[in-house]
């Protein structure tokens, strides 16, 4: 099993839901220091939680020996989180236009993670793994306005 590794601006965890709290705290800490208010920082941490939850559940199918790594970078008013995984490629920025009125009226459940990521973040970039680089890269960006 991987030992969690945490550096100044990066963290690697085992793909286990018990690690979600640590991931959120890591993101929250950086987002607040960067200048986002409490509510926006919480939403950014939520978007990252939703990505990691999807990876744990769908890409890694609850195999907690697998790994998720995050790296935070900032530039001017731009706050970015790079998320690396080596599961099956899946593009979270694909258009999933969810009609929430319909969703709620029909008492649906699940499938909100991607919708949240798209609602919260300003920019989503996805680079599937390749022979050159063996991990999927997801970059979530939020601008400080």
């Amino acid at each position: 099993m991987l030992l969690s590794v945490e550096n100044n601006n990066s963290i690697c965890i085992n793909a286990d839901s018990s690690e979600l709290e640590r991931i959120r705290k890591f993101v929250l800490n950086f987002a607040e220091k960067f200048g986002f208010d409490d509510i926006t920082s919480n939403k950014i941490a939520l978007a990252v939680d939703e990505v990691c939850t999807n990876l744990i559940k769908h890409s890694y199918k609850y195999d907690s020996s697998r790994e998720i790594c995050l790296q935070i970078s900032t530039d001017d008013n731009q706050f970015s989180i790079l998320i690396l995984d080596d599961g099956a490629s899946f593009n979270p920025s694909s258009d999933i236009s969810l009609d929430m009125r319909d969703y709620l009226a029909n008492f649906r459940r699940g499938g909100l993670g991607l919708h949240i990521i798209n609602l919260v973040m300003d920019k989503i970039q996805y680079i599937p793994r390749s022979e050159d680089f063996p991990k999927n890269k997801l970059i979530l960006t939020k601008y400080l306005k």
């Binding site: 979600l20 709290e21 959120r24 509510i39 939680d49 709620l104 009226a105």
Partner: protein, 118 residues
């Protein structure tokens, strides 16, 4: 019932079940809340108040728990009323339009009064 970072305290007020939740409600902890709501429904208690005063975080996994029970509970003449949310927790409900479906109130007492008035 508790987990290191999520707790549920239960009390009964007449035919109402009040669940006070605290900590973080995410994919790791949401099964605990699901079990409690399941128990309540199985026991025929369909008037449920969830007090969020000490809840610091909710993700879509937590929202999904409420979606799983709301239809069944309302079909049986009850409701799940949500109270005392912190602003950052309400912001997640609001982001997804959940206030359209759920009765979200400032105080637990308001929920009790509404249930007793029905």
């Amino acid at each position: 019932m508790n987990n290191s970072n999520f707790k549920i305290e239960k009390k009964k007020i007449d035919d109402l079940a009040v669940l006070s939740i605290s900590g973080y409600l995410d994919a790791h902890t949401s099964p605990l809340l699901e079990q409690e709501l399941e128990k309540s429904v199985k026991d025929g208690c369909y008037k449920i108040i969830v007090n969020f005063s000490d809840l610091d975080y909710i993700s879509s996994a937590g929202l999904g728990v409420f979606m799983a029970f709301i239809e069944d509970v309302r079909q049986n003449g009850g409701d799940i009323k949500l109270t005392n949310m912190k602003e950052k927790v309400f912001a997640v409900f609001d982001l997804l339009g959940f206030p359209l479906l759920f009765d979200i109130l400032n105080e637990e007492d308001e929920a009790i009064t509404k249930f007793q008035g029905n």
